[in-house]
Amino acid sequence: MTAPAIAARSLRVVYRPGLFQRPRVGLAGLDLEVAGNEVFGYVGANGAGKTTTIKTLVGLIQPDGGEAWILGQPAADAAARSGLGYAPENPYFYEYLTARETLEFYARLFGIARAERRARAGDLLERVGLAPAADRRVRQFSKGMLQRLGLAQAMVNDPKVLILDEPMTGLDPVGRHDVRNLILDLKARGKTVFFSSHILSDVEALCDRAAILHDGRLVACGRLSELLSGKTLAVELTLAGAGPELERQLAALALRARRDGAELHLAAADEAAADELVRRAVSGGAAVRSLVRTRESLEDYFLRVRREAGGSGAAGGAGEGGA
């Protein structure tokens, strides 16, 4: 049987900031399994433990309990990282090196031969859109360029598994579009991509499966089609030509009503209520401009799951910054 690309069993991390400060739980017995060739989204509020999980998987943090594996090898072993690529959130590099030198340096850590190092550095810089800045020192790079270089160094060993921590952070819309395409391309090449993100629309658009983390433990994990109920949350109507009297009548039947110039926007609770609103609007002399059914999004689901798990604002688990 093939080992999962990423696995964690009862993973526990506790931060002990100082002698007189209370320990904080970063991960509270995390169980996780990511199959090969999956794009897996890892979602959670600030401080939920996303970065702690990732740092434990890539060997930057030794857990207080439990175990993690990459491609079947214990994550704590340096050898497990041969088939792994990791891009940290806001990556930092040696400022005096150029982008090309940076990638060649990382390639050297994998024992890749000189000619191959050169070729790979060139290819990767092209792939992440940094070819024109290949021989510029990294200290002159913008945040977005550093993020792109971070993705390039994560691919320098042609890894089977990529772990990306907030890969869209600091990118402009073009950059985000490029990274989305890059992730889809990696999947097409048979890679496993595990990424954390605050941008839930990206997770929804890219992932086969997603997990929601809350206070250091998973509160939901599965295929998006299974997680999102698909039920109608509301039906949004836009009407034109509705007079004040008709508006008053329709608003009394709708969940919400809002006038925007000549248009009246209404929200109905379900399809039956929407039918009734349409019937009355048309018979009252108004015209229907649009009718849209709103289904539960990942964001709605995330907020609902957090509410059910007892979270409200910023979580009180591990600090992402230091974690």
């Binding site: 740092k55 060997g59 590099f93 850590l109």
Partner: protein
Amino acid sequence: MISRVLALALNTFREAVRDRVLYLLLVVGLAAVAFSRVLGEISVGDQLHVIADTGLAAVSLLGVMLSVFVGTGLIYKEIDKRTVYTILSKPVRRGEFILGKYLGLVLTAGVCMAVLSAGFLVYYPLHGGAVTWPLLAALLFSLLEVAVIIAVAVMFSAASTPILSAVLTTVVFAAGRLSHWIPDFMDQLGRTRTGGSVLQFLLQLLYYLTPNLGIFDLRDAAVNDPGRMPAAGDLLRIAFYGAGYAAAMLLGATLIFRRRRF
């Protein structure tokens, strides 16, 4: 393992040689060598001895300054600037990282000291001095001493901030330079006071914990009395002692670094 350590060492060297601070230190060192002639003229005694003394001292001082200023921030900077994230997430063991950074700085110090030594070895004969093997040995053992101090600096850098590391490394350097006097001092102390005092215990502890850097200082013998130069076998023993002490410091640094979370 060797290729990873080498990659880290060469990268550390490349980073260092692109930093302007290094060139400033080199210029100051070369200026000190050039200034030695002026010192020789205004000093009482043999002008050549003063040039040789100053030149050798400048080479040693350059190495020590590099150890303290660069070495004490070597590991801390990697953690603080988070460059360590993208390195330790590769198949790099923490001990390899420490060793690579250490060797990179030793290489940097070696090249800087070699450049300054070359300046001195050209300058000295121009004023009638002769380049002898004791002079070359004194220069080489200055580098060995610096290699030991860099290991101490790296150990502290793995555990604390650059400022605290710099203070502690300077204290160890000073204690190490004076430690070969401790046995004599303890003898005198034993004659004047009853044995087993706390002071004697602390002195003994200091003697065994700090590196005996005095044994690397061959400058005085090389310049003033080449007959006092240690024999080849003794020089080898000193070199082994330095390597052993540096290895112990690096092992300590690795043990500290392995426990760290990033």
